[in-house]
C-alpha cells in the first residue's frame, strides 16, 4: 500500500523525444557504416572466389572450364600427352622430359607426331599452321624477284598478243575492193573476241601475282614471319605450341637466331674474317668493317616459355595439394589465375572433372553467401557459413558470422527505437527508424513483426486520441493517470491542441496530489495518528474529496476518532460561517482529542489572536 509512486512527467517525455532524435541521427550514421561493411564483405567474397561475381560477368572461359564434361577432359589429356611428346622429341631440355632419358632431339619424329595432332579438336589447327610455317621456312618458295621478271616478260608478250588480235578483229570488218565482201565471217570474229578476252584474263592474273610479289620475301622476312608466329602463339598462352615452333625453328636454321643481311644494314661494315653465315658484316663506304648486331629473339622466347611451363607445373601441383587439404578457396583462386595466364597449358586442362566440380561447388556456396549478403538474409548466411565450415575452414567466415548475427540485433534495436518514437509522438523519426530497420533486416521475422505492431499502433493512435478527449472531458483523473504512458506522448504531440494538453495535465496533477495525500494518510493511519489522517483527507481539493479511495479511508478513520471528527467538523463549519468564538471552542475540544495536533494548534492560535485583537 505504501509503495512509492513513480510518476513520469511531460518533461520526461520531452527528454525521451530528444534521446530518440539522437538515436535517429546515430542510425543514419550507422547505415553508412553498414553499407561500407557490406561492400567490404562483397569484396572479400569476390577475392575468395571468382564465382561470386554475377554469372553474366564471369569470364566465359573460366565458366566453360569449370563446367567441362568428364569425357572431354579425358580426350584433352590424351591430346596434351601427345603434345608433350612432340616437345620432348624436339627439345633436349624440355620441362616434361625426365632427366634420365636421352638428350638427343628428333625433329623428323616430332614433325610426324605434329601432323597427327591436327586430328584432335583441342588443337584448333595450330599444329597444321605450324607445319605450314615450317614448310614455308624451309625454302618451299622461289625468289620473288625472278618470278617478277618472268611475269613482266609474260605481260609484254600478252600485250603484243592482244594488240595483234585486236588488229585482226578490226581488219575483219574491212570490205575487199575486189570481192566487195568482208574477209571474215561473224563466227570467226566471235572467235577472235573470245581470244582477246582470254588474253585480258591472263593479263589480270599476271598483274595480281605481280601485286602479291610487291614486297620482297627474303629469307630474313620468312624468319621474321615465323618468329612473329611464335610470339603470337605465346601471346595466346599456347606455350607448348610456341616452344615446339621454337624447336622447329632451331632445327631449320643452324644457330637458330635471326641473322640480318647487308641489305638490312647498308651502313654497316664487314667484319674482318667474318665469312660465317651467322655473323654477317657489311662494308661501309670507307671505314673499318662494323659487325652487324646479333639479335637473340628465339633464345629469350624459349627461356620465357620454359619458365611459364614450369610455373604452370608448380601451380598445378599446388592446386592438387590444396584440393587434398580441402583448401578450396585458395585452390579456386589459383585456378582462376591459371585460367588467366596459362589457358592452354596441360596442367590446367587436365585438372580432373571431380576437382573442377569441387571448386565449382565451393564457389557456388560463396556466391550464395554473396547473394544472401546482398539480400540481407542473415539466417541464410549463417546456414551457408556453417555448411562451408563443416567441410573447409575458410578465412573470413568468422567475420561473416558476426556480421549475420550483429545486424538483425541492430535492426531490432532500431525498430524498438521507432516504437518509442511513435509513443513520443514523433512520427517523422518513427518512420525514418522503421525504414532503417527494414532496410537492415528485410527478411527478419522478429523485425517484421515489430514493424507491423508499430504500424498498427500508429493507426490506433487516432482512436486513442478520441479516447483521451472523452476521458479529459469526463474529468477522469484516475484513468488519465493510469494510462499516462499511452496518453502523455499523444498529448505532447504537436498535432494535439493545447487546451486538451492543459486539461489533461491538470487531471494528472489532480491524481498526483490525491495519490500523495493517500500515501500520507496511510502513513499517519499506520502510526495511529487518526485525527491527523482525517484532517489530511479533509483538506484535499474539492475535486477529489469525493473520490472513492478517499471516502473509503474516511469511513475507516471515522470509526476510530468520532469525538475529534465531530469537534473538527463543528469547528470548520463555524469557521466557514465566521463564528470565530464557537469555532475556537470546538477547536479547543478537538485538541483535547488530539493533543499534539499541529493543524488544530495552528487554528487555535489564529482564531485566538484574532479574537483578542478585536
Amino acid at each position: 500500500m505504501n509503495q512509492p509512486v513513480v510518476i513520469s512527467t511531460f518533461e520526461n517525455v520531452e527528454i525521451e523525444r530528444l534521446r530518440i532524435a539522437e538515436e535517429s541521427a546515430k542510425a543514419e550514421r550507422d547505415e553508412i557504416d553498414f553499407q561500407k561493411q557490406v561492400a567490404s564483405i562483397q569484396k572479400k567474397l569476390a577475392e575468395a572466389s571468382a564465382s561470386t561475381i554475377v554469372p553474366e560477368s564471369l569470364p566465359t572461359d573460366y565458366r566453360s572450364f569449370l563446367s567441362a564434361k568428364a569425357g572431354d577432359i579425358q580426350k584433352s589429356a590424351e591430346y596434351y600427352a601427345e603434345l608433350k611428346s612432340v616437345l620432348n622429341d624436339l627439345l633436349p631440355n624440355s620441362p616434361y622430359k625426365a632427366r634420365t632419358t636421352s638428350d638427343s632431339s628428333n625433329p623428323l619424329r616430332a614433325s610426324e607426331k605434329l601432323a597427327k595432332l591436327s586430328n584432335y579438336p583441342e588443337d584448333g589447327d595450330i599444329s597444321r599452321t605450324i607445319s605450314g610455317q615450317i614448310s614455308s621456312l624451309s625454302g618451299g618458295r622461289v625468289d620473288d624477284q625472278r618470278r617478277q621478271l618472268e611475269i613482266n616478260r609474260e605481260l609484254q608478250r600478252l600485250t603484243a598478243e592482244r594488240k595483234r588480235l585486236e588488229w585482226n578483229l578490226k581488219m575483219s570488218y574491212d570490205v575487199s575492193p575486189l570481192t566487195g565482201k568482208t574477209s571474215s565471217t561473224e563466227d570467226e570474229r566471235q572467235f577472235v573476241r573470245q581470244q582477246i578476252e582470254d588474253v585480258k584474263a591472263e593479263v589480270k592474273r599476271c598483274e595480281d601475282e605481280k601485286k602479291s610479289l610487291s614486297h620482297l620475301v627474303t629469307t630474313e622476312t620468312r624468319k621474321f614471319q615465323f618468329q612473329q608466329f611464335i610470339i603470337e602463339l605465346a601471346l595466346q598462352q599456347r606455350y607448348i605450341h610456341s616452344l615446339i615452333a621454337c624447336g622447329f625453328y632451331r632445327s631449320s636454321f643452324k644457330g637458330g637466331d635471326l641473322n640480318l643481311n647487308k641489305d638490312a644494314y647498308p651502313s654497316g661494315r664487314p667484319a674482318q674474317g667474318s665469312g660465317s653465315e651467322n655473323t654477317p658484316s657489311v662494308q661501309s663506304a670507307g671505314g673499318a668493317p662494323t659487325p652487324l648486331p646479333f639479335i637473340s629473339t628465339i633464345t629469350g622466347m624459349e627461356a620465357f616459355l620454359q619458365n611459364r611451363i614450369r610455373d604452370s607445373i608448380q601451380e598445378r601441383e599446388s592446386i592438387d595439394n590444396m584440393l587434398l587439404e580441402n583448401q578450396l578457396g585458395a585452390a579456386e583462386s589459383l585456378l582462376r589465375k591459371m585460367v588467366l595466364t596459362a589457358k592452354y597449358q596441360p596442367e590446367l586442362q587436365t585438372i580432373s572433372f571431380q576437382s573442377r566440380q569441387t571448386i565449382l561447388q565451393s564457389g557456388r556456396k560463396l556466391r550464395q553467401i554473396s547473394d544472401a549478403v546482398n539480400a540481407k538474409d542473415y539466417n541464410e548466411i549463417l546456414k551457408l557459413v556453417d555448411s562451408i565450415e563443416a567441410n573447409e575452414p575458410l578465412a573470413g567466415m568468422a567475420d561473416l558470422k558476426s556480421f549475420a548475427k550483429e545486424h538483425p540485433r541492430k535492426a531490432l534495436h532500431w525498430a524498438r527505437q521507432a516504437e518509442l518514437a511513435m509513443k513520443a509522438g514523433d512520427k517523422k523519426t518513427m518512420s525514418s527508424l522503421m525504414d532503417i530497420a527494414i532496410r537492415r533486416a528485410p527478411l527478419d521475422q522478429e523485425v517484421a513483426q515489430k514493424i507491423q505492431s508499430i504500424q498498427e499502433n500508429a493507426q490506433s493512435n487516432n482512436d486513442l486520441l478520441m479516447e483521451l478527449k472523452k476521458i479529459v472531458s469526463a474529468g477522469d483523473y484516475r484513468t488519465s493517470f493510469e494510462r499516462m504512458n499511452e496518453f502523455v506522448p499523444l498529448a505532447q504531440s504537436a498535432n494535439t491542441d493545447s487546451k486538451l494538453k492543459d486539461d489533461y495535465e491538470k487531471l494528472i496533477e489532480r491524481e498526483k496530489s490525491l495519490r500523495v495525500a493517500i500515501e500520507k494518510t496511510d502513513s499517519l493511519e499506520s502510526k495511529g495518528l487518526m485525527p491527523e489522517a482525517w484532517i489530511e483527507l479533509n483538506t484535499l481539493p474539492q475535486a477529489i474529496v469525493d473520490d472513492v479511495r478517499i471516502l473509503e479511508r474516511k469511513n475507516r478513520i471515522s470509526v476510530e476518532c468520532p469525538k475529534f471528527i465531530k469537534a473538527y467538523h463543528k469547528a470548520t463549519n463555524h469557521e466557514r460561517e465566521n463564528q470565530s468564538a464557537k469555532a475556537l471552542a470546538w477547536y479547543l475540544n478537538a485538541l483535547v482529542e488530539s493533543p499534539s495536533n499541529n493543524a488544530i494548534i495552528k487554528k487555535i492560535n489564529l482564531l485566538g489572536e484574532g479574537i483578542l485583537k478585536n
Binding site: K570, Q579, S580, A581, K582, L584, A585, W586, L588, N589, V592, I604, G608, E609, I611, L612, N614
Partner: protein
C-alpha cells in the same frame, strides 16, 4: 506570681477566642459573598451554546469552571483568553477575562459572571476564585 500567671493565661485565652471568632465570622461572611454573589444568575448553557446556533441572549450567566489553559494575553496584560472547563461539562469553552484585582492562573477554579457578545464570544465581567 501564680495568680498573675493564671490571669495572663486567661486573658490570652479570651484574646485568642475573640480573634478566632472574628476570623470565623469574617471567613463565613466572605464565603457567603463568593458563593452567593452570582447565585442569582442562571447557569451558562454550555451545550446549548456549543451545539445550537441559536443566540443565547445578552443576559448574564454564571459559570463555575477550571482554567484549563491561558491561551493569550492582551498587550496591556489586562485581558486574557483562557480555556475553561465547566465543572459540570466535558467541553472546553474559550472565555475572555478582563483582569480585576485578583489574578488568575491555570488550574484555578473560578466562579464567573459571563455574557456573550454579538459574535457570541464569551466574556467574563466578574469572577471569584473558589
Amino acid at each position: 506570681m501564680a495568680r498573675t500567671k493564671k490571669f495572663l493565661l486567661g486573658k490570652n485565652y479570651i484574646l485568642l477566642s475573640v480573634i478566632g471568632l472574628i476570623s470565623f465570622i469574617g471567613f463565613f461572611i466572605f464565603n457567603l459573598d463568593s458563593s452567593q454573589r452570582f447565585s442569582q444568575l442562571p447557569e451558562f448553557p454550555v451545550e446549548n451554546y456549543l451545539e445550537k446556533n441559536s443566540i443565547i441572549g445578552r443576559e448574564d450567566f454564571r459559570l463555575e469552571g477550571k482554567i484549563e489553559n491561558i491561551l493569550f494575553r492582551s498587550g496591556d496584560g489586562k485581558t486574557f483568553l483562557v480555556s475553561v472547563k465547566p465543572v459540570n461539562s466535558d467541553y472546553l469553552l474559550p472565555v475572555v477575562i478582563s483582569l480585576q484585582k485578583k489574578s488568575i492562573q491555570r488550574e484555578q477554579i473560578l466562579i464567573m459572571k459571563l455574557h456573550t457578545d454579538s459574535s457570541e464570544l464569551i466574556k467574563c465581567e466578574d469572577y471569584d476564585s473558589k
